[in-house]
Subunit: 190 residues, 2 copies
DNA sequence: GTCTATAATCGGATAGAC
DNA sequence: GTCTATCCGATTATAGAC
């Protein structure tokens, strides 16, 4: 029984590169990460990265195309008593940052936002459309309050996951929820 | 009347370079800013930057040694009715970001935090000692709540001054205070 | 004190053999 | 599909003339 036809193919390699890219962009940001570094972590030749994605920009875009459906998230957040929307929103946020794949993409995004215009646009759009637009529309929250709420979440990400300031960095989810959820709820009740 | 002796000297040049450094680090972050760019903006030769400061790291450190006395800030925040500490804290924050020199230093810091360990340490220390330490000590606020409050301020800086998401980016100070100050106050009242 | 010139690296991207 | 070799631009940093 001889094997014929094409062998397993490159599908695997591409995925390796993508995973390595997420890790590198997450660790060093857009500017800090290098094609060589990504290739090194993936165990392949730097040229292959170009071969599969074309340019550094495109690798970045592919790495950020996170495995998350904003629509589903919002649906989950909105499903349930209105008095606990803040808590569900925060739980969702913490769950995303706790999951391996999305957290790497988010980390890459937030690490790159400061110096990369492309990343800043992405975050702006993500906040505007995926989160603020829908939630404010559904709940009738004034735009400014919603943006302030988003700012708090961004700050939480920065302090807890990027700069890692204690005790916020190692606080258990539940403790954090007890402290922060009421504040988010307050913003939603304008 | 012939001019004799040494001319005005380098004092001025050094200050020019420092101002240019603050602007460049603020605009592009640590990694994005270049010695050449700083020298260009200051109207001097790149070598001079090395001459005065030694290395890029040291220029960065000098640029971040902001013209602000944390002790005085805290004193101002604590002076007055306890029920308005949140508001005074926020006013101070907005005033600092509104002033030209400190705002450039802060921008440089926050733009560099994501990718530069030195900057991350600096922010951590600044939050810990200059702000959290003193305020929590003086008011008896639990550490976790204080850190959450700091996170909110960091997020505000990111969204309002770095990524510039509307309507938060262009909202007048007073509107912002009306929305956000009560939240800060809530954190302070455990 | 200020400049020119240049050394030493490093990173992204491409060409082309296998 | 995967590799080697290489080009090209940009950057930090230094040596040394004036």
């Amino acid at each position: 029984m001889a094997k014929t036809g094409r062998r397993p193919g490159p599908t695997e390699t591409r995925a390796h590169i993508l995973a390595a890219a997420r890790a590198q962009f997450g660790a060093h940001g857009y500017d800090g990460a290098t094609i060589r570094g990504i290739a090194g972590e993936a165990g392949v030749n730097p040229s292959l990265v170009h071969h599969f994605f074309g340019s550094k920009d495109q690798v970045f875009a592919a790495a950020l195309d996170f495995p998350v459906d904003p629509g589903a998230l919002v649906a989950t957040i909105l499903a349930g008593p209105r008095a606990q929307v803040g808590e569900r929103l925060l739980r969702m946020f913490l769950a995303l940052w706790g999951a391996p794949e999305p957290s790497k993409a988010f980390l890459a995004l937030i690490r790159s936002v400061s110096t990369n215009e492309q990343a800043a646009d992405l975050l702006r759009q993500f906040l505007e459309r995926a989160v603020l637009g829908r939630v404010t529309e559904a709940l009738g929250v004034p735009r400014l309050r919603a943006t302030a709420l988003a700012a708090h979440l961004v700050g939480l990400a920065m302090v807890r996951y990027v700069v890692r300031v204690e005790p916020l960095a190692s606080a258990p989810d539940e403790e954090l929820i007890a402290v922060v959820a009421p504040v988010l709820q307050h913003y939603l009740e304008g």
